[in-house]
């Protein structure tokens, strides 16, 4: 009986379109933070068992079905999966990891995810992220700031980016993205 609508209540705004960039608030998503030794074979095996994905390269991501594993730091990955799959991912990982020194937490409610897509999508983000988004590779993960909010950006495919931030900032970031995507200036960028 979780209240799925609540976390997005503040985001129930029609996204702008027609200027080359579309902003969407993504529905609740399963998320798991895992920390440990990413280079350890046992870690890789446990991650594979829990997600079907290999350990990603530095700043990369790996995908299996609707699960994506994102490189977050030298000893940390983030798993995006179906919302109700997260507890299973934690349980499987911890069981397979055995006595290894690891940490796996269901953090599905901690962050909000937005999708910005379209040929001008990167221009919208470039209004506040000090990152060479034009040259970002598909699947690449970049943790940075957007305006002054800490955010992660993953180029999912082609012109589409997913943005994740702590949920307390979601109203702010949603408004920020919509203002940027709705500015008529996109036409001359």
């Amino acid at each position: 009986m979780s209240d799925l609508s609540l976390a997005r209540a503040a985001l129930d705004v029609s996204p702008p379109s027609g200027l080359g960039a579309q902003v969407e608030a993504m529905p609740l998503r399963g998320m798991v933070t895992i920390r440990g030794d990413l280079g350890d074979a046992g870690f890789a095996a446990a991650l594979q068992a829990a997600t079907g994905c290999a350990v990603p390269e530095v700043r990369g991501s790996t995908v299996s079905g609707d699960t994506r594993v994102l490189w977050m730091s030298a000893d940390e990955v983030m798993i995006f999966c179906a919302w109700d799959a997260a507890p299973g991912v934690v349980a499987t990982f911890m069981e397979k990891a055995g006595d290894a020194h690891v940490l796996a937490l269901d953090v599905s409610d901690a962050r909000a995810v937005f999708r910005v897509s379209g040929e001008k999508a990167w221009r919208v983000l470039a209004k506040g992220a000090p990152v060479d988004l034009e040259r970002m590779e598909p699947g690449e993960v970049r943790r940075t700031r957007i305006a002054t909010v800490a955010a992660g950006i993953v180029r999912t495919d082609g012109d589409a980016f997913e943005i994740f931030c702590f949920r307390s900032f979601s109203t702010y970031l949603w408004n920020w993205l919509c203002v940027g995507a709705g500015a008529e200036s996109l036409s001359d960028l």
Binding site: M1, S2, D3, L4, L6, A7, A9, A10, L28, T33, R35, G36, D75, H101, V102, L103, L105, D106, V107, S108, D109, A110, R111, R123, A126, K127, G128, A129, P130, V131, D132, E134, R135, A147, T148, V149, F166, R167, S168, F169, T171, Y172, L173, N175, W176, V179, G180, A183, E184, S185, L186, S187, D188, L189
Partner: protein
């Protein structure tokens, strides 16, 4: 009208544009600037100077303009100090003049000018010192009325602005011949290139001075060819109306794009490009220098290059009879341009003894009078402009007198050219004085260097010191196009005339038009000992106006050098600071204004709180409900109601903002023993302990309840707003000091929403919800996990109010469901929400500290009476060694106490000082102060020197300079001293 019958490369004679200046309607043409349109309408008086309110006209045709500043727009789009030489005319443009009252033509401030002998350099410093009392009532009001350029806007700016981050291999500033060629070369090499140009056109000076042939083509055709080739390159970005305002360290540059100043804005008006470039090529050209002579500021005295720009680009004759005063061959182009356009050239005065070059000969062939070794000695005129000049012979020793009078309405000054070296200087490059060419040019030995120590800014073309089209193109490097252009003879630098003899009138040779700084001011400064160029600048204000001395600095420095008897190179120059030309305030903010000004963090219940009448308060970046308004009750009443609810029934507090950090690993206990002053490793799973965190100075920095979830896992609560800081603090120690420890952390603050359920009815309320948590069995400082109302919860039996209290944490997507469930089942138990003000009063009644209220970064746990939370058993923890330092152990440190005012109805002001017996010294201050509805009187907490030994003592608390009140020092625990209420 002074619009010429033909010519004007930039104007569209078939499209007329209407605008107003000082309310009067005018007509211009599409392609005009405000300056060219006003000149075409015969308007020469456009401004009054800042200090003396002297009548001033347009001097230049570009961004270096010192005089022609206007207020642009009206109402909420009013903007002051805009250079009319850079304003592209559009239908409906409104401009008003500045620095005049009541009007440009009859300005009363001109009295200042009559008294101009009263305003020498340093006048303000010397005059407004004595008598002191005069400052407030006499000097300040007068100065305030006359100070400042333009009028500040009074309404909020309705326009929008934005930023854009960009990355490139090479950024080229300036779209003249050098910039275009540099872009072409870089583009062909496959680089990612940005080429920006501050005006709305490509080509730079070649558009005006199109007498050269490049690669066998007329200059204009060559430009069009370059632009077309660049536009076809995918790796080249071209932007007009975009000025490279600044070049900073490591290739960071700011570009100021005036996106919509030439039209009714659609979308953002200005855009700030934040570029990171591998190389920056400055193709920023040159600015012509004026020549200071007596009366050189009458309307109609202009730069020679500007005069021919107006003729050739806008088809406007700045005058009907022009005198050209030149120090070089290039100036002759102006005479030739005027002559070709059918305007009379009254005379050419050439400072050189024997002018010969090709351009000189062309002028002579055209029948123009050339006077050699001759300068202008004096200009006469009125507010409408120049009437006549008087020549002065140069090089004749001390006894020269003014010579021939020549009637004219325009004077064109060609004093030589100064490279625009700003971008080189912004980023740390040095400039050197080139005596042969009489200019500061970039010093190739001292370029700006990037993070690898390699040069990354290069100035090409005029900016690099090239004076002819051939040299300009050759300076770019690579294959140089062939150029056919007139050869030019050397110039003769002239800093002002006459420089000696009886004719050397000094008072009205203006150097800095905008700040009214004269040659005499610089000389006075030098005589008074302001010998450093930096000191002379600040003393005289030379170059300190909005134009930053683009026209005045070189002449000013030369005059300083001459007065001091030094070489120019030994005097040096001031440093150029960004931005190159002023940028709008709006563009600095970009998109982050109004709603987006600053990120605000909201809990999952934010909308619920708002619907329930919450008044929010900022706590860090968070917004928390301060109190909830019910009906028409007053502020105090609502807070009292919420306090009583907790003391008598049961209240709910949204405590989701408290930080929550998971600390896990075999060494987690050991690690937390170091992080907290108390022992955490001995905590049993299922138990909670209140912990204090200090820095290595021994001062409190955070506090919170730590729960041990299992053998290897702890959950550390932090203060609201402290979660990021404390998490970063833990990671810092793990990564940089104790990196061998096997500990992993995660900040789960936002995963969990957390509510305090506090009050005598708390347990009864919670027991009404179905679930598997045994609330009655959970002891004080106990922790349990389970299901409540079908939701996964963590329950902590902890209390910050002194009442029976539980805190429930649920994953955030369940937050509203749990909150509403608690409200639904407890109506008859009196349940309702309470805000942070009630929370603060409740904790103060119990003497609980708040980090940031009772602490200020200089307070130890011992100071606040919490020695019990500082372990004596541990070898080390952060802050331990510092607490042994002499100042932290000395007697008489400020200690936390309670204060009870003599008048129980009087609530002390926050921060009020406690006074020593003689009233001379502050011995402490009030840290928290409230009216306590629970005990029916005011209460306060304070840090007082030696406070714990002063129980029962009465102290004076200063309220203001005259009043103080008495208060008795007491225990800070005002209510339920034994803690009986929470142990039920």
């Amino acid at each position: 009208m002074t619009r010429l019958k033909s010519g004007g490369a930039l104007i569209d004679r078939d499209t007329s544009v209407t605008f107003t200046f000082d309310g009067k309607p005018f007509r211009g043409m599409k392609g005009d600037t405000l300056a060219s349109a006003l000149l075409a309408n015969g308007v020469r008086l456009v401004n009054r100077s800042y200090k003396y309110h002297r009548p001033r006209g347009v001097v230049t045709s570009g961004p270096e303009e010192p005089n022609a500043l206007v207020n642009l727009g009206s109402g909420d789009r009013h903007e002051p100090n805009i250079r009319m030489t850079q304003i592209e005319l559009f239908d409906g443009l409104e401009a008003t003049s500045q620095n005049r009252y009541p009007s440009l033509k009859s300005d009363v401030g001109v009295l200042n000018a009559a008294a101009s002998r009263l305003y020498p350099a340093g006048f303000y410093y010397k005059t407004f010192i004595h008598p002191r009392v005069a400052w407030k009532h006499l000097f300040e009001p007068v100065i305030r009325r006359i100070a400042g350029l333009g009028r500040a806007p009074t309404e909020a700016d309705p326009d929008t602005y934005e930023h854009q981050y960009a990355f490139c291999d090479t950024l080229i500033a300036g779209g003249g011949p050098a910039g275009l060629l540099a872009a072409r070369r870089a583009g062909e090499a496959g680089e990612r290139v940005m080429l920006v140009e501050q005006t709305e056109r490509w080509g730079g000076r070649l558009l005006t001075d199109d007498d050269a042939e490049i690669d066998g083509k007329p200059a204009r055709d060559w430009i069009a060819g370059q632009v077309a080739a660049l536009e076809a390159m995918e790796n080249v970005t071209l932007r007009l109306r975009t000025c490279c305002s600044a070049a900073f360290d490591h290739g960071y540059a700011l570009l100021y794009e005036r996106r919509a100043d030439h039209m009714t804005p659609t979308g953002p008006r200005h855009r700030l490009w934040r570029v990171r470039a591998g190389q920056i090529v400055g193709a920023t050209g040159m600015i012509e220098r004026p020549i200071p002579f007596y009366g050189n500021d009458f309307p109609g005295v202009m730069l020679a290059s500007a005069v021919r720009d107006y003729v050739r680009l806008w088809g406007v004759a700045p005058g009907q009879r022009t005198v050209l005063y030149t120090t070089n061959d290039d100036g002759y182009r102006t005479a030739l341009a005027l002559h070709e356009a059918g305007c009379h050239v009254a005379a050419i005065l050439d400072a050189r003894a024997d002018p010969v070059g090709i351009l000189v000969e062309q002028a002579r062939e055209a029948g123009l009078t050339v006077m050699s070794a001759t300068g202008i000695g004096k200009v006469s005129g009125n507010r409408d402009g120049v009437r006549e000049i008087q020549t002065v012979p140069l090089d004749r020793g001390d006894d020269v007198e003014l010579g021939k009078r020549i009637e004219c309405d325009c004077v064109a000054m060609a004093g030589g050219w100064s490279p625009v070296v700003h971008l080189y200087s912004h980023s740390g490059g040095k400039v050197v004085w080139d005596a042969d060419r009489a200019m500061y040019r970039p010093d190739p030995e001292n370029p700006p260097r990037d993070r690898h120590g390699e040069p990354y800014v290069r100035l090409v073309g005029g900016a690099g010191g090239a004076l002819t089209t051939g040299d300009v193109l050759a300076s770019v490097g690579g294959a140089t196009p062939s150029v056919v252009a007139a050869a030019e003879q050397p110039a003769r630098p002239v800093w002002f005339t006459p420089s000696q003899g009886k004719a050397a009138l000094g008072g009205k040779h203006f150097l800095d038009y905008q700040n009214d700084v004269t040659v005499a001011d610089i000389r006075l400064a030098a005589r008074e000992g302001f010998e450093s160029v930096e000191h002379a600048k600040r003393y005289t204000t030379l170059g300190m106006a909005t134009d930053q001395g683009k026209l005045s600095n070189i002449n000013g420095h030369a005059i300083l050098a001459e007065t001091l008897g030094k070489a120019m190179a030994d005097v040096g120059t001031t440093t150029f600071r960004p931005p190159y030309t002023p940028i709008s305030m709006g563009v600095i903010a970009g998109q982050e204004k109004g709603l987006l000004f600053k990120p605000v963090r909201q809990t999952a219940l934010h909308d619920w709180h708002a619907e329930q009448g919450a008044e929010f308060e900022p706590v860090g970046d968070w917004r928390r409900p301060y109190r909830y308004q019910r009906d028409s009750e007053g502020r105090e009443a609502s807070i009292t109601r919420e306090i009583k609810r907790v003391r008598e029934k049961v209240g709910l507090l949204d405590a989701s903002t408290l930080g929550k950090i998971i600390v896990r690993g075999p060494d987690a206990g050991k690690f937390l023993d170091l992080m907290y002053t108390n022992m955490m490793s001995t905590l049993k799973p299922g138990k909670c302990r209140y912990g204090l965190m200090c820095n290595d100075n021994g001062f409190l920095m955070d506090d919170g309840v730590v729960a041990r979830l299992d053998e290897q896992t702890f959950l550390c609560h932090t203060t609201s707003g402290g979660s990021d800081r404390v998490h970063a603090w833990m990671e810092e120690w793990l990564q940089t000091e104790w990196f061998d420890m096997r500990v992993l952390t995660a900040n789960v603050t936002e995963q969990w929403s957390q509510f305090a359920v506090a009050g005598p009815n708390a347990r009864a309320l919670l027991e009404r919800l179905e679930g598997d948590v045994d609330f009655a069995a959970l002891p004080f400082m106990g922790f349990a996990e389970g299901t409540v109302a079908g939701m996964p919860v963590r329950v902590f039996r902890i209390s910050f109010s002194g009442e029976l209290s539980y805190e429930l944490a649920v994953p955030t997507s369940y937050a509203l469901s749990l909150w509403e469930a608690l409200l639904d089942v407890g109506g008859d138990l009196g349940v309702g929400p309470y805000g942070t003000e009630a929370l603060h009063v409740l904790r103060a009644e119990k003497g609980f500290i708040v980090i940031g209220d009772e602490t200020d970064g200089t307070v130890t746990p011992h100071d606040v009476g919490m020695s019990w939370a500082v372990s004596k058993k541990k070898d080390d923890f952060i802050g331990k060694r510092a607490m042994e330092r002499s100042d932290l152990t000395r007697q008489g440190r400020k200690q936390l106490v309670g204060l009870l005012t003599e008048d129980p109805g009087y609530v002390l002001p926050d921060g009020a000082h406690a006074l020593s017996k003689d009233g001379e010294r502050a011995i402490g201050h009030v840290t928290s102060t409230y009216h306590s509805p629970t005990i029916g009187r005011s209460i306060a907490m304070a840090l007082i020197e030696g406070g714990m030994d002063r129980m029962g003592e009465t102290v004076q608390i200063g309220i203001d300079r005259k009043t103080s009140v008495k208060a008795v020092i007491a225990s800070p625990v005002f209510y339920d001293k034994d803690g009986a209420r929470q142990n039920v």
